[in-house]
């Protein structure tokens, strides 16, 4: 039985539908990220899971028991969940230890047990030495660790995180990202993590649910979300890509100015005549000064450099294939320098091309 099931979940405020027919299932111990741009409904979904928001349609159940349905919402305190908030919500009137102990005391544990478990979890998050400090005396990262400890120490059935790293500076964010994953690996708590930052999602999640305009567009493992986007939105939102519209006919995909045999693609394309949308990542193409040896029959096109931007780790070129109206972004290593207007050869790796639709 799945730990958490969202079934046809919707939430409307007046005529505005913020969450639209969301289905999602989490197995026990799974870590799922809700990823999407701001306003896509991911936080509302999370707050419905927590019991703070009543759904307009659909249901949420945990271990088979319905927790939320329209008109019948189990209050948050009876859901055996815990949550980490964007603002951390560390209570300023309690010390670090008191903050962490709060949930345990509500579970009516003996004070010895409470003490032991608080000490243990503070050690895990490396905060033992600050147990008696008040939150005002802590840095942002330290407060974040307290929030983590407070949420994990109660051994929740589901852990919810709402943009937990958005208030941290870049270096700390990266560190905490690994910390969160490390804690998950250690405790295997079923986790729903909301973020708009795809690298955060990639680094932490077992599966990512990409949301847009209230709907889930795709749920998949992080590398598949990147390599095999199934909607135009996912392809464009995750990483950078070139979206190419084409047409399938006679075992070939006809594109503007050139064609690809369907057999060369990494996934099967049904051979019926229809329009098709391809996602070609800039990394899946290469530029050459002279015509390369076309191994495995990879397509090679002659092109002209139209624009270039140096990004530090790589060059970002925009090239213009001859006899085509296309503009393609291509990534190249720092030392591979081409001038604007230079004629180049463009090599495409069809294995990495994703069929979006």
């Amino acid at each position: 039985m799945p730990r958490l099931t969202l079934k046809g979940l919707s939430k409307s405020y007046g005529p505005v539908k913020v969450v639209d027919n969301v289905d999602l299932t989490l197995q026990e111990g799974e870590f799922v990220c809700l990823l999407g741009p701001s306003g896509c409904g991911k936080t509302t979904t999370l707050r419905m899971i927590a019991g703070f928001v009543e759904p307009t349609e659909g249901s949420i159940s945990m271990d088979g028991e319905v927790f939320s349905a329209p008109g019948a919402v189990l209050p948050p305190e009876r859901r055996r969940m815990s949550m980490i908030f964007q603002s951390y919500a560390i209570w300023p009137n309690m010390t670090v230890a008191e903050n962490v102990a709060f949930g345990l005391k509500l579970q009516k544990l003996s004070s010895a047990d409470v003490r032991d478990r608080v000490a243990q979890i503070l050690k895990v998050v490396q905060m033992s030495h600050l147990a008696d400090r008040y939150p005002a005396e802590l840095s942002g990262g330290q407060q974040q660790r307290v929030a983590l400890a407070r949420a994990i120490v109660v051994k929740p059935a589901v852990l919810l995180l709402d943009e937990p790293l958005s208030n941290l500076d870049a270096n700390l964010r990266e560190e905490m990202r690994f910390e969160i994953r490390r804690l998950h690996d250690e405790f295997r708590i079923t986790t729903v993590y909301v973020t708009h930052d795809q690298s955060e999602a990639m680094a932490t999640a077992d599966r990512i649910a990409v949301m847009n305009a209230g709907r889930i567009e795709q749920v998949d493992a992080p590398h598949l979300i990147y390599a095999r986007p199934r909607t135009r939105f996912v392809a464009a939102f995750i990483g950078r890509t070139n979206l190419l519209a084409g047409h399938v006919a006679n075992g070939e995909i006809g594109l503007d100015g050139f064609a690809l045999p369907t057999a060369q693609l990494g996934e099967a394309v049904p051979d019926s005549a229809r329009p098709i949308l391809l996602s070609v990542r800039p990394q899946s193409m290469a530029l050459h000064r002279s015509r390369p040896q076309a191994h495995d029959g990879r397509p090679v096109l002659s092109a002209v450099v139209a624009q270039r931007t140096y990004l530090g780790e790589s060059w970002d070129y925009v090239v213009h294939p001859q006899q085509s109206g296309l503009q393609l972004r291509v990534t190249a290593p720092p030392l591979q320098v081409h001038e604007v207007g230079e004629a180049v050869w463009l090599e495409i790796d069809p294995q990495q091309i994703a069929v979006v639709a």
């Binding site: 319905v66 019948a72 209050p75 009137n93 709060f102 509500l106």
Partner: protein
């Protein structure tokens, strides 16, 4: 449907068969019940008295039949209309004088390097906590045309018989009122000035404007909404004030709305006419708020420009002493001089005999404390009425503020509106509404402590609400959600998380309500019975008992009590707890 039933566990499936409302009941939060109680409380405290006032104004005495004759009576005499006009003029003059007192002081404290800012704060605080009717008595002692200390000193200095100042004039009345109202404008304007960035003035300076031009053209216009808001509050307070006009206005032969209302309460009591006569006060209030909205609708003001930029004190040079002198002057008028004469009188055998060892006595205090029939009772009444009213007001206010801030119920803003409504209802109108609604059977609260406590609660609910709303807003909702998701119910969360976080602010709010209630006269004077007189009412009664020495001593007791409370407040809720603007 069958599929759903299969997914639902057994208990839930049973639930589904029950009527919908019963199912909802299981998930009902206690807050919904509380909401109903609060609506009832607010209706009882605010809507019913005002509604009753409105209804009664159209009722015939005795029969309750519909009639317009109350309005005909209330506005049928030139004298009554004149009182109305007097009130309006008095309100305007007092507001103007208050602005003249308050704005330069606020500017000096907020924007300049004037020395003695602590002293200026003390003056404002002193003027704020001194009950206005006590100041009025002080000013009678100071500026009675023949006997006042100021006039006697003037005669002694110049040999002129004509008095220098006469408190028994329209201007005298307005001045005395303004001297105890200006702190309201000060608080408003100072907090607005604190938000004006120095860069605003720098920008004017760099274009060639001097300090005073920058102040006139840039700084003051930016805080205009605060000044206007202050003017409106002072105007409304003045129009609704009873004590000072009764003490000074009657000898000065100035009849105002409140003293006229009092006349309608003489035997036989004509509540119906009083209700009809109170209506313009409500209309004026509504009108002023509308005017304020219209005036401020278009321009951007400091409240919108936010906190950006740094703030530097303006260097005044030699002028700093002149500015301090002005503050000292206002302080002398508002606090020091009235307080000195009152203290002198309270320790005098006969205050007319002036300062002399042979005139010194503790008898006035001893009489009040040990032999007066009502003094101790009234002190006790004051303490517990005020405490009860403050507790009730803060409890209701914090619950409403919480429910509104957390959007726990639909139409929460209606609750907030009701809680804030008494702000625009003059205290005396409120009291008459309470009298009309609850004095007579079947409720028959006349002469009980309860009716006074309820009236105080309603009257000061807005203060408590503004305070509580600010306190609740300061607590991020996630603070509570964090506790709930860890297993704390709504009530436990409030007790363990929210309450500790807002308790300091609430104590401050409680004390403010307590202090203003302990000196409230306008509402109390219509509602007290023989054994429920408060200090303010007894002080008012003493003012017609012909013994200024005892009156002054009682005023001294009231002030001592207030000072103790203020000291407690500063200790518990911060030094500026009374002058903070929420």
């Amino acid at each position: 449907m069958t599929e759903t039933a299969a997914i639902l566990p057994k208990a839930a499936a049973e639930e589904a068969r029950r009527p919908a409302w019963l199912r909802r009941l299981r998930y009902l939060e206690p807050s919904n019940l509380l909401w109903i109680l609060l609506v009832a409380a607010l209706l009882f405290l605010v809507a019913v008295p005002i509604g009753k006032l409105l209804i009664v104004s159209f009722e015939q005495q005795g029969t309750g039949a519909f009639t317009l004759s109350n309005y005909a009576t209330a506005y049928g005499r030139a004298r009554y209309l004149e009182a109305l006009a007097n009130s309006l003029m008095l309100g305007a003059l007092s507001s103007l004088l208050s602005v003249i007192f308050a704005v330069p002081m606020a500017w000096a404290v907020s924007r300049t390097d004037m020395p003695g800012k602590g002293f200026t704060w003390a003056i404002v605080m002193g003027a704020f906590i001194m009950p206005p009717y006590l100041g009025a008595v002080g000013w009678i002692l100071l500026a009675g045309p023949n006997s006042g200390f100021l006039n006697q000193a003037w005669t002694w200095l110049t040999g002129l018989q004509a008095p220098l100042v006469n408190v028994y004039t329209f201007f005298g009345l307005a001045l005395v009122i303004a001297l105890h109202s200006f702190p309201l404008i000060f608080i408003f304007v100072k907090s607005a000035l604190d938000l004006v960035s120095s860069e605003m003035e720098d920008a004017a300076n760099i274009l060639g404007a001097g300090t005073s031009t920058a102040m006139r053209k840039i700084t003051l216009p930016l805080v205009w909404p605060a000044i206007l808001g202050g003017i409106i509050v002072v105007f409304l307070e003045t129009v609704a004030l009873f004590g000072t006009p009764a003490i000074i206005g009657i000898p000065a032969r100035i009849n105002v709305v409140t003293t006229q209302l009092w006349q309608f309460f003489e035997y036989p009591v004509r509540v119906e006419v009083a209700a009809a006569y109170a209506m313009p006060l409500l209309l004026i209030t509504v009108g002023m708020i509308t005017v304020q909205k219209l005036l401020l609708a278009r321009k951007g003001f400091v409240s919108q420009t936010g906190k950006g930029g740094e703030r530097r004190p303006i260097k005044l040079g030699r002028w700093r002493w002149a500015v301090l002198g002005y503050c000292g002057f206002v302080g002398a008028l508002a606090v020091v001089m009235p307080l000195m004469v009152l203290l002198q009188a309270s320790f005098a055998k006969a205050w007319g005999r002036g300062l002399a060892w042979s005139n010194l006595t503790f008898e006035n205090y001893a009489y009040l404390l040990f032999r007066h029939e009502m003094a101790l009772t009234s002190i006790w009444n004051t303490l517990w009425f005020s405490a009860a009213a403050a507790t009730a007001a803060v409890c209701i206010a914090v619950l409403v503020a919480y429910i509104v801030a957390r959007k726990l119920v639909p139409f929460g803003s209606a609750l907030a509106f009701l809680a804030m409504a008494p702000f625009v209802i003059p205290g005396i109108v409120m009291a008459i509404g309470f009298y009309a609604a609850y004095a007579a059977p079947p409720i028959a609260l006349y002469g009980t402590a309860l009716i006074i406590i309820l009236a105080f609660t309603a009257r000061f609910l807005p203060i408590a609400f503004a305070n509580s709303a600010a306190a609740v807003r300061a607590v991020h909702p996630e603070m509570e959600e964090a506790a709930r998701i860890l297993g704390g119910g709504r009530l436990r969360t409030i007790a363990r998380i929210t309450a500790p976080l807002i308790i300091r602010s609430l104590i401050g709010g409680w004390l403010i309500v307590f202090i203003v209630a302990s000196r409230e006269l306008s509402a109390a004077v219509f509602l007290v019975g023989p054994r429920t007189r408060t200090m303010a009412v007894l002080l008012y009664d003493l003012s017609e008992a012909g013994n200024f020495e005892v009156l002054a001593a009682f005023g001294g007791l009231l002030l001592a009590l207030t000072l103790i409370l203020v000291a407690i407040g500063m200790k518990l809720a911060g030094r500026d707890f009374m002058l903070r603007r929420n």
